[in-house]
Each structure stands twice: as C-alpha cells, then as structure tokens.
C-alpha cells in the first residue's frame, strides 16, 4: 500500500525547491550584473535538480504512472505544498536576496538534520543537496551583509525587504499533523525544532548587515504546506506549466 504520509511530505520538499527555482529563473537575462545573473540561474538549476530528486522519489512512492515531470507540470495550485515564502514575487534585488536568505538558512538546517533520516534515500538526497545549499547560503548571506551595510539606499531597501517578507519566514517552523507523524517515524525533524537556530543565524547575519530583525513573536502567514496559497502561485504555475498543458507529453 502506498505510503501517503511520505508521499505528501516529499511533495512539500520538492515543491519548495521547484517553485523557488522557477522564481529565480525569472531573473535570467535581467540580473543587475552578468555575474549576478549567472549566479542566480546556477542556484535555480541546483534547486531544480533537487526537485527532480524529491519528486521522482515521490512518484516512486506513489507507484502510479506519473513521473516527476507529471508531478511538476500537471498539478494545480491547491495540490502544491510549498511554503508561501518561495512563491512570493521577486520584487527588487533586495526582496530576492532576503527571500533567498530566509530560505537558505532554513534549507541548510533542515538538510543537515535529514542526514540522520531513518529513510536512507532521503538521507542521500540531503547529502547531495547540502553541498549546493551551503554555497547558496554563503552567497545570500554575503550579499545581504554587503547591501544592508552598504549605502543609505541599499540599507533602506534591504530593511524593507526584511520587514515585508518576515511574515512568510515562520511557516517553515510550524508543525502540523503530517509533520508530527513524519517526525515520529524519524524520517525528518519536527519543523519547530529548527526554529531557534534559524533565529540565531539570521540575527548573526543581520547584526553584521546593520539590519534590524523583526519580532520573533510576530504573526506568521501559513497555509502553503496544506495547499492554500497566495495569489502569486497560480501565475507562476501558468507560466511554468504552459508548455505541458498546451502540448501534453511534449519532450526534448
């Protein structure tokens, strides 16, 4: 019988990286400098590769005739289980970088804890992803520090991005029923168990960046993990899925 819990949990993992990858690839050809453009699209491709690993594992667990591409391109918004943070629009470069930093810090902590997963395949995906994500974090934290502690203009923009995106930063740490079952089975840690270290890491980066961290107790948006999304995801999927919808089964 299909392991529905693990299947759904893998969708959450794969949808986070897939949706963020799609967002980042919107910068392709529009980056503020050639070097930044390349860096962002590299990261987008890293994340896309990780999505392939998560979603093909989900497809294998499901055991039906759809593969990772079917999961990526033929599900609708309410069937996506990514956190709301990753579907937020790119905004200016400050928004993109702060969104990336919030995600990268969580992603690193989460992948590290998955190295001890009771599921060896998940541990292997985590090990492969962690090298890539360590670089993502190195880059996003470096740029947030530079721009936060940069000119008046860059500081103002960064602080605005920090404040505006803050309410989307907490969903990664809210435990729901599925998270509890998965944690009981020692497949993955409880999301809330990563929270304090996330705050500490962000606080350390913000101190160097001369940015003010909003309140730890601020109200947080949630719903993405359960399939309730902001309006932005629909537009993102419309673009991402267009080809498969218009030309079903088209391939390279």
């Amino acid at each position: 019988m299909m392991d529905t819990e693990k299947f759904n949990w893998c969708l959450r993992a794969g949808d986070n990286t897939l949706v963020l990858s799609q967002r980042l690839s919107e910068w392709c050809g529009k980056g503020p400098a050639l070097e930044e453009d390349m860096a962002l699209t590299n990261i987008a491709l890293d994340l896309l590769g990780q999505s392939t690993l998560w979603l093909s594992y989900a497809a294998k667990i499901e055991g039906l005739d759809r593969d990772e591409a079917g999961l990526a391109f033929l599900r609708d918004t309410h069937e996506f289980h990514n956190v709301l943070l990753v579907e937020q629009p790119n905004g200016d470069y400050g928004y993109t970088l702060v969104r990336q930093l919030y995600f990268d810090v969580w992603h690193t902590l989460w992948l590290k804890s998955l190295l001890n997963s009771s599921d060896t395949h998940i541990a292997q995906i985590a090990e492969k992803s962690l090298k890539e994500v360590s670089y993502h974090l190195r880059r996003s934290s470096d740029l947030v520090i530079r721009l936060g502690d940069g000119s008046d203009e860059s500081h103002t923009r960064m602080q605005r991005s920090v404040d505006d995106l803050w309410m989307y930063s907490g969903e990664c740490f809210i435990d729901d029923a599925l998270d509890k079952v998965i944690a009981d089975r020692q497949v993955a840690p409880l999301p809330s168990s990563l929270k304090e270290e996330w705050f500490a890491t962000i606080q350390g980066i913000f101190s160097k960046a001369t940015l003010t961290m909003p309140s730890k107790d601020a109200w947080m948006q949630q719903g993405g993990k359960q399939g309730r999304h902001t309006e932005h995801l629909g537009y993102l999927l419309a673009e991402m899925q267009f080809l498969q919808r218009a030309y079903p089964s088209a391939s390279w």
Binding site: A33, L34, N42, R146
Partner: protein
C-alpha cells in the same frame, strides 16, 4: 568615483598538478566577491579545483611596440630548441 565594479582576471587550475590558467575576466567590487563570481561564471561545468583572482589593474603587460626587440630575436635561434638531440629508441615516445 566610477560606478562600474573593477575588473578582475581569473585563473583556474583544472586539476591537481597543473598550473593555473587564465580563463577570462569579470567585474566584482572586491576580492571575495570576485572569487564567488568566478566560481559561478567559470566553474559551472566542473572546470576547476582552484581559483585565483587578480585585479586587472595590477597586471603589468608588455606593450605591442616592444614586440620587435622583445620577441623577434628569438625567432632565429633554433639552437635553443632541443630538436638536435637524437632520442635513443629505448626511450620510446616521450
């Protein structure tokens, strides 16, 4: 002050034992970002195991006008090439 980031020359060592080779240049505000950018721009296809970044402004280059006195004299000195030694057959292909 120029708003353009300064130019850096990038050298990559493709594998252990080989020397760093010039691969191109890029713009970055300082050395640390030049390294990150070089990683992103020039090692995407598994090209390297080590990167050097050097500010283009510190490179001292010979000038084209010096070409005559610098390089032409060596063109007529074939005895500087080790082509006059006979290689013993036991050595085989070097």
């Amino acid at each position: 002050m120029s708003k353009e980031w300064p130019l850096w020359e990038i050298f990559i060592r493709s594998q252990h034992g080989l020397s760093h080779k010039h691969v191109g240049s890029l713009h970055a505000p300082d050395a640390e970002m030049a390294l990150n950018n070089a990683r992103d721009v020039y090692t995407r296809r598994n090209e390297g195991v080590s990167i050097w970044v050097v500010p283009a402004s510190v490179i001292v280059a010979s000038s084209p006008e010096d070409r005559g006195e610098f390089f032409d004299p060596s063109a007529s000195k074939i005895y500087r090439h080790p082509t006059f030694f006979t290689i013993p057959p036991e050595v085989g292909n070097l």
